[in-house]
Symmetry: C2
Subunit: 177 residues, 2 copies
């Protein structure tokens, strides 16, 4: 078990726990945008060779960019609608536990869960997330898409680190106990 690859959630949320507005607007993230400061994102993705994300999050990302940001990595888009793969991007509509177990048991680097809330909830229900790196943005969004949805079991966490940045972003890093 010790040698299994880890599945890591790396995501930003507002202090009140939202990852976007109801209309999928991410502009609240701009309060922490600062030239030359990526809050460890590049260093983190350098340790990743596999990405899994939900289909709605994938579609949202693709409205913002021309090329999927993780083209160099093995990517699984979790969807209910089967679709042929495109380059290194596979659209996966099978059993989530089978996929993640399979990935964890293959040799490799970190597996990055890039959201969204629906996938995170499923992964937490199945106890498949090993680490959470959450960047808390200094804003109360007031409403939106909650990162954590109810109906999950209780899980104790161990804090690995916590770092406050000049912009007011606080990044907390937990590992499951």
């Amino acid at each position: 078990m010790q040698n299994q690859r880890k599945l890591v959630l790396y995501i930003a949320m507002s202090l009140d726990g939202y990852i976007a507005t109801k209309g999928d607007d991410l502009s609240f993230l701009s309060v922490v945008e600062k030239e030359g400061e990526d809050y460890g994102y590049q260093a983190f993705t350098d340790t990743v060779d596999t990405v899994i994300l939900g289909r709605k999050t994938y579609d949202k990302v693709m409205t913002l960019v021309d090329t999927f940001p993780h083209v160099d990595k093995e990517t699984y888009v979790i969807t209910r609608t089967p679709k042929p793969s495109a380059g290194k991007i596979q659209f996966y509509s099978g059993d989530l536990k089978d996929l993640v177990f399979g990935l964890k048991n293959k040799p490799g680097r970190l597996i990055f869960c890039d959201g969204g809330a629906e996938l995170v909830t499923e992964l937490l229900k199945l106890d498949l997330i090993d680490e959470l790196i959450i960047s808390v943005i200094p804003v109360l969004l007031g409403d939106g898409i909650s990162l954590f949805n109810p109906g999950r079991p209780e899980r104790k966490l161990k804090l690995l680190s916590s770092k406050a940045y000049e912009s007011g972003l606080v990044q907390v890093h937990y590992v499951k106990m």
Copy 2:
């Protein structure tokens, strides 16, 4: 305005934003209980002379203790059901804005909002909370009473400080912008 008293929310929540289980169970707080460590609570309450809290929170507190913990402070329990005051505890069913404006314009020390979620939501809707001191407990509770309820306006915050404790509790302190 600069000399007005501040209304400060000081509260603990799980990483997934809950202040208690649906059944009002607070036992998740025990993961950070440690002899001789109060996470700054005493130092904070020493700067407070007035407490406001919701009626459900008050009732919950009174099931846990014999004597209300803030008997030395002017206390307002916000309730829909008028009730005669008891010692320094007043049951208030009038306009919340009037109460808080009145308190802020009187000379005095900090005003402590001790929860719960319903009162916090109302105070945030009215933009009456000046500072938030939130102790994030290293646990995903999975379900429960959310501290932050939807339907509030967006508010930008300024991070004053962030402190990680050995138990894994991370205390963040924000002031409204």
